[in-house]
Subunit: 355 residues, 2 copies
Amino acid sequence: MQLTFDGETVRGGNEARERFYDARGYGRPHDGGLELAPVEAGHLLFRGDVTTVRDDRDDSGEGIGFESLLASRAVSEVDFFVYKELRDRGFYLSPTDSADVTDFIVYPRGQGPWDDAVAYRVTTLSERATIDAGTLQAIARGIDAEEDEASTGVLAVVDEESEVTYLELDVPTLSGSTYHDIPSFEGDLLSDRVLVPEPPAALHDRAFYGQRLDRDDDRVQLSLVEAAYLSSRGDLAVGVEDVADADAIVDRGREVEGERFDRRLRVYDALRSAGIVPKTGFKFGADFRTYADVDSVDDLGHSEFLVRALPADHSFVPRDLSLDVRLAHGVRKRMLFALTVQGGIDWLSAERLTP
Amino acid sequence: MQLTFDGETVRGGNEARERFYDARGYGRPHDGGLELAPVEAGHLLFRGDVTTVRDDRDDSGEGIGFESLLASRAVSEVDFFVYKELRDRGFYLSPTDSADVTDFIVYPRGQGPWDDAVAYRVTTLSERATIDAGTLQAIARGIDAEEDEASTGVLAVVDEESEVTYLELDVPTLSGSTYHDIPSFEGDLLSDRVLVPEPPAALHDRAFYGQRLDRDDDRVQLSLVEAAYLSSRGDLAVGVEDVADADAIVDRGREVEGERFDRRLRVYDALRSAGIVPKTGFKFGADFRTYADVDSVDDLGHSEFLVRALPADHSFVPRDLSLDVRLAHGVRKRMLFALTVQGGIDWLSAERLTP
């Protein structure tokens, strides 16, 4: 049985179709025979199911082996290692057209290309490359996918040592139930926060704004982002001369943080509007940690998300994604990226996945 | 008992010295009386030990209270929260001259400014500020400290909610014992790694270069940084035409990573030269994880460090430091920053500290 390669597609006859497609889900049937993507042929060569593939463009008759196929760049190593890893895990999968965001369609275990169901849409990436926020969103949303929308968008990162890390990307719906009325109050704008000498009782203990100055001290300190939000709603007055209160606080925030402060404030606002309480995520290396349903600070419950506020055109380094997702997993939270776009926030969550 | 403030120093008489310095380690004696830094006076005001401080510059006779002192910017809130936190933990501490890298000298528990010993040299930082690598190195080395060299350099970061996170900074000495002779061998330069069809047995199994292609497959794949290192030592030949092997590999690395590849290669080289094996730290969001004493990959032992390679002029965001150190702690490793300087690498380690 001979397979041939024309530089784009590997082809085989009826026997190859029976043996590789019908029995094991490689390639796709074509005119009674078989068409394989180079990465699929590479896997057959790697396994020794096929020894060499004949090169249509080469008259020498010397066939292509696994190593020369990989060296030829007809197959990206990153694609090969992901393909192999998923095969090792017992999945059948099909490469897509290279223009797609999705590199592989992965079928549920026990199913294959002859079935309709899709378990994962996988995009491959080298540890050493970068990926922009828009592409991650496309993976999460599956906008280019004709297939079943119930499938999960997955980024498969191949590290320098060819280990594969899978990240499940999703567009979560955020909703909480924390809405408390607070009577308006006054505070002092310090250099890096706002001190509230006589806070309304609900401010900290129910709505979970700020922190008490000390365990036995009723005075509350607000972060600048909390203060800017409360001031923009008219709840907080800081009494700065000649400037609107909210503007004075935002100016103070920008002094140190620049546009990052504006970005964090927009994310803070969006989370509060969804009934969710954002608190600092500093100890977790994030912008915020969140609580969805706060009725009293004495009974907070577990914080669900770690949130990082980023510009919509942010370019992700896979290593940083790996760091964020691993840390969030370690503290039983989900990593949430808040991408600030014109007119709102796009949410993108990332979690470690074992297919 | 009346304390007075001239805009720089708070002063009291003999009674104040007895009550605050002799008994509780606040300030320093001067002419039989007491001199306090504003942050120390702020803490006495906060605790209610003193109600108000008289302002020498103000004839109205209205004293300065805690809130107005903090609002006046005579005391940085960041300094105040660190001072308070360390006092709450039972330490006596003294502010230093503001030109120092060190903000507070912290005495061992049970000791004070009248003793010679120093436990910690503490530098304070707001979560929202940045700090450059040079300053972190100065904290670690204590180069500006006249005091006991046995003291520990500490960065105290105050987050938006005024919680304090302590990071111990150090300049570690790195040494390992992994030196194995490898006969020279050949490999194929693929797009993102080097494939070694017939590797010497010691290459992977003893010296821990690369990975096997599969559990039962003897072929070894090397990362580009491993391959560049081995090639520069003359151990690996990849047979690229018209170019030295090592240059061809480095060029491939730079194609994707730019100067980051060179930085990583220098750090890789320095670690290997110290007898330490660097492997990818991708799953931990780092450049490398390290093994100091590898005799066989079947008996690796625990990896000690996570390493991040950075340019010497890197500016750290406290949030990123917090993220790295927390993750490393969670996997029982120490976080190590490798700062590439002219002629070598400066090592800087950071660990979470509970004083």
